[in-house]
Symmetry: C2
Subunit: 248 residues, 2 copies
């Protein structure tokens, strides 16, 4: 883990950019956690939307500020084939197929969804685990670890396979390959699932079925009116309270 | 409105039982609101489950205590044909039909649901409106007014017809006559709907359709694991925060 820049936000948060095996990321720690006397703090992994970290930075930093106010560190890494990371021709092809289907008002086929999401999950999840190894080796970061983020299939796989994650906030706002329903059954940690009722890029019934499939004994679904980007402030606050409850 | 008893809970809440046109009820006010110098407080109408006030008292009083802590008065009235109120033979009959269907594992027909719920709604809603008249005439109670309660069809009708109610928490835990979906479209106030995902006495799909039908631009659905009586503490707190946000 190689830190490439460092600055303070509002005197309350230390923001450090890093790269790790070629993957860029950002780590935010409460300013107090950097003092050598303080105890290690819990960590929230913030899964970014597939827009590139630069484009989604304001939203990510806002959530990191809130995490820091709760006494948590927060970290994110660039998703594969997003931001400045290189693309595979196959991915460029399926993204074009998706755009074409959406513009034509055609249904998005299982083939497109699988080709779009499964390679992203396969590549991304091990990168999150490598990042977790590196982050937990820092003296200012301890446990427990939570995950909060978009691309619900990445969060689902991560929650299913990574025992160091104790609770997760998942945003049901992206296409879900059929294979993920089976993986969802293997998730047992407390889950807080957010759904935008009229999300233009999301199949509501598929999201409800995925929520039903999760194996967790403690899971909650918060559905709110509006489209993909219309999550009300209160919904974000409830998600933050869920994490605070489970990481403290 | 005739007060029949008065006592204090924890020195923080004044609890008064009353009768109004033969309907028993309970009013809880923050102890501070009774001082002649204080401003009138907002009011939460607590819709009881159809078990009788005596049986559901502990839960109702708990919610009233929380309302008082938020600075709100709270009031409830006995539902028609519940508690000590007289029953019609037709109601005894349909309740027996329902028990029989449930015990036999048979589907609960639309006929049973209509006969069970519609007369309850027709009688109860005007009683709530009369209670609201009387409660708002008390000097210690002002507005705004919220509703929080069970028997979702009563809450739906009340939210649709009573303009003095500004926000409602509805518990999707009872059978819904088909006619209520149409009434739901006429509801426009902010709504917070609670759903127990595995509620044994509730059709999940019907609840989701009712949520979808509400005309409110601001509505949120909080679904949690467990059966009818298994609402987690955090879900109750979220509902209280919703009311606090809208009544303050």
């Amino acid at each position: 883990m190689h830190f490439t820049s460092e600055r303070r936000l509002d005197d309350a948060v230390l923001e450090r950019e890093f790269t790790l095996g070629g993957v860029p990321g950002i780590l935010w720690t409460p300013a107090s956690a950097s003092a050598s006397v303080s105890a290690p703090v819990p960590l929230v992994l913030i899964g970014p939307p597939p827009l590139g970290l630069r484009k989604s930075y304001p939203r990510l930093a806002d959530r990191a500020r809130h995490a820091a106010a709760d006494g948590f560190a927060a970290a994110t890494i660039e998703l594969p084939e997003c931001g400045d990371r290189p693309r595979r021709p196959a991915t460029e092809q399926v993204r074009a197929d998706l755009r074409r289907a959406l513009e034509a008002g055609e249904p998005v086929t299982d083939e497109i969804i699988d080709a779009l999401i499964l390679p992203l999950v396969d590549t991304s999840v091990p990168e999150w685990q490598t990042a977790l190894d590196a982050l937990l080796s820092l003296p200012e970061i301890g446990g427990p670890v939570g995950y909060a983020g978009g691309v619900i299939s990445i969060g689902t796989r991560l929650a299913a396979v990574e025992p160091r994650i104790s609770a997760a906030v998942l945003f049901a706002g992206s296409f879900v390959p059929r294979a993920m329903y089976e993986e969802a059954r293997r998730v047992t940690i407390p889950l807080h699932v957010m759904l935008q009722w009229d999300d233009e890029g999301n199949d509501r019934q598929a999201a409800l079925e995925l929520f039903d499939a999760f194996g967790s004994r403690e899971k909650t679904l918060h559905a709110n009116m509006g489209g993909h980007t219309g999550v009300p402030r209160s919904a974000g606050e409830e998600a933050a309270r869920f994490l605070a409850r489970h990481l403290k």
